[in-house]
């Protein structure tokens, strides 16, 4: 990966009438990166992708691709290609002609064109299906046609608009792995739009989480999961427990907090400014907590409570626990790696926690 950003988005704003779909977004995407735009529907991620593709221009701000200002450059003159959510496979053409669609304008000799088409079909696992018509293909196959059709043009950037949302779970997981492998082998920058946090985490080098037309956080998958920047990001990605707390002291690079749920605790000072008596939120992932039957001494920090609800998922079990101390309900995820027995509703338990697992959000 080189340091030169292939895509630079500078203060992009997009308005549709009174509605602001994108609100001052700035973003650099590196060459060869697998980058995801993640957020709930209506957050502006698809709008941003369409601006990069050239379907309309930003109301304000600029988009540069490979260092060139793309303002006023229509989609057919941009070095990007897109895989549409509906795949947009041309129904009047067979698979090979779909893949050759963009090549036809380049005036290549027929033999060379056929070779490129066959290579592209091989790459996406559709060898020998060139003569099939679009309505003879399954959803997964149509998506591969859309991929081959875009990749055969060797774009600088491949844009993917929710490409896996229409597939069933099994096929979706298989395509996640394949897309990642494909991206590594062709070395093209991929920009993926998705509302599925798991999809973004498993496939991406970096992820931008968007809400209400703004970017909340840009980070790699692990950092995003372990150190969410805001409560909204923490809520959107994975499960999370939130506990209210108040700052009581800030000294020697450490902050002391008081919480109704877990008492007084001292944590390393975060970068953000904290004032005394400021209300903050402590977040902890359910899988970073442990649960044990009452009486067992776990050592370290423990909270007593009662099981309020149980959900069994096979590989994990999710317990809702009402804490005796304050009545707060927290959620604990337990791995079933030891085949441990299920705890009954109402059973007294002890929840173990580690201060290092706490994330401080303000």
């Amino acid at each position: 990966m080189t340091a030169r950003p292939i895509i630079q988005i500078q203060n992009a704003v997009k308005r549709f009438g009174d509605f602001t779909a994108l609100n001052n977004v700035s973003l650099d995407i590196q060459e060869g990166e697998f980058f995801s735009l993640l957020g709930p529907s209506g957050c502006g991620k698809t709008t941003l992708l369409r601006l990069i593709a050239g379907f309309g221009d930003a109301t304000e701000g600029t988009i540069l691709i490979g260092g060139e200002d793309m303002t006023g450059v229509p989609a057919n003159h941009r070095p990007t290609n897109m895989v549409f959510q509906s795949y947009a496979v041309f129904p009047h053409l067979n698979v090979a002609d779909n893949v050759a669609f963009g090549l036809r304008r380049r005036g290549l000799p027929r033999a060379e064109r056929d070779q490129l088409v066959n290579e592209a079909l091989d790459r996406v696992g559709l060898s020998g299906l060139g003569h099939r018509r679009a309505n003879e293909l399954s959803g997964g196959q149509r998506q591969r046609v859309a991929l081959a059709r875009a990749l055969v043009l060797s774009p600088k950037v491949l844009l993917l608009d929710e490409p896996l949302s229409a597939l069933d779970k099994k096929l979706r997981e298989q395509m996640q792995v394949e897309l990642r492998r494909l991206q590594r082998s062709v070395g093209i920058t991929f920009i993926l739009v998705t509302h599925d946090q798991e999809e973004a985490l498993t496939m991406s080098d970096r992820i931008a989480v968007m809400f209400d037309g703004k970017i909340s956080q840009i980070a790699g998958p692990e950092e995003l999961y372990q150190k969410p920047a805001t409560r909204r990001v923490a809520e959107f990605i994975g499960g999370m427990n939130f506990l209210d707390a108040t700052v009581t002291d800030d000294a020697n690079g450490e902050v002391t907090l008081d919480s109704k749920s877990i008492g007084t605790i001292t944590l390393p000072r975060p970068e953000a400014f904290l004032a005394n008596d400021q209300d903050v939120t402590l977040a902890v992932r359910p899988e970073r907590l442990t649960v044990s039957e009452n009486g067992q001494d776990l050592g370290g920090h423990v909270l007593d409570g009662k099981i309020a609800d149980t959900a069994y998922y096979g590989e994990t079990t999710h317990y809702s626990v009402d804490l005796d101390r304050c009545g707060t309900r927290i959620w604990v995820s337990v791995s079933n790696s030891h085949g441990s027995h299920l705890l009954a509703t109402g059973q007294p338990v002890r929840v173990g926690w580690d201060p290092a697992a706490l994330v401080l959000l303000n």
Binding site: T80, M82, P91, F101, R105, L137
Partner: protein, 267 residues
């Protein structure tokens, strides 16, 4: 018992509707100038007589001119209107759609008289041109209905995909949009041509001295000797209309089916 009553009703309905029409081809092969049972024998004489009938051939030629012109005009407006209504959300869209579709429900005699008044007021002399304009008006709703179902099935992202793959807007239209809506356009041409071909009242009011086929047929009914020839002509019109409408509907169905290619298929 209830089922039997319904069954009987359906049979009676079909007989009442279609049996009189079937008499037309039947008597067109009957070897007698009198249209009555019993049948006298089989003949192709009435069909042969058409070859020498210049007035009838003139009327046929008029009908074809009017039919082709109004089919092309109605389908052109139909393409523009259907695309706008399906693709864009604009002021008073439902009301405008309603106004365009209204000729479908207006009594033709009212349309014919009002058009006659308007055209005379405008100082237009009656001719095949006025008939063509009126037929275009009557055929536009049919064209719109056919093409709207066509455009509704046409995924807008197909045009965007063409553009994304390097095609110019004009190129995208010719390489993607047109091939996909072409069956609908042909279907609209066939059906609007048939509507014009069969239309009598408006053609009767708005034509001057040049009759279309239905007007010619009406004028011949006064002469008993001409009736078998009219029956033969009617049979040909019947068969032609049936073939054109069937072809049009088959094309429309196949194109809608092909375009409604959603991502619902499994592996």
């Amino acid at each position: 018992m209830r089922l039997n009553a319904l069954y009987f009703y359906a049979i009676a309905y079909m007989v009442f509707l279609y049996l009189p029409i079937l008499f037309i081809p039947l008597f067109s092969f009957n070897d007698s100038t009198i249209v009555a049972f019993p049948l006298q024998g089989f003949t192709l004489e009435w069909y042969g007589m058409m070859a020498g009938n210049e007035a009838m051939q003139g009327a046929l030629w008029n009908s074809i001119k009017v039919g082709v012109s109004s089919a092309v005009l109605a389908t052109t407006f139909g393409v523009l209107g259907a695309r706008a209504i399906v693709r864009y959300r604009f002021f008073a869209r439902p009301a405008i759609t309603g106004v365009i579709m209204t000729p479908l429900f207006l009594p033709e005699i009212i349309v014919a008289i009002s058009l006659l008044v308007v055209m005379l007021q405008l100082g237009l002399s009656l001719s095949l041109v006025t008939v063509t304009l009126a037929h275009t008006l009557l055929a536009i709703p049919y064209s719109m209905a056919i093409l709207m179902s066509n455009f509704e099935g046409f995924d807008q992202s197909l045009e965007e995909a063409a553009s994304d793959l390097g095609e110019t807007p004009l190129g995208a239209f010719f390489r993607v949009t047109l091939p996909n809506v072409l069956p609908g356009i042909i279907s609209s041409l066939l059906i609007t041509f048939t509507i014009s071909l069969d239309e009598f009242i408006v053609a009767f009011f708005l034509a001057d001295t040049e009759p279309t086929l239905p007007v010619y047929i009406f004028s011949q009914i006064r002469f008993p000797a001409a009736i078998p020839g009219v029956l033969a002509l009617g049979t040909i019109l019947l068969v032609a209309s049936f073939l054109l409408l069937t072809a049009g509907e088959l094309l429309r169905r196949s194109s809608v089916k092909r375009l409604q290619l959603k991502e619902d298929a499994g592996i």
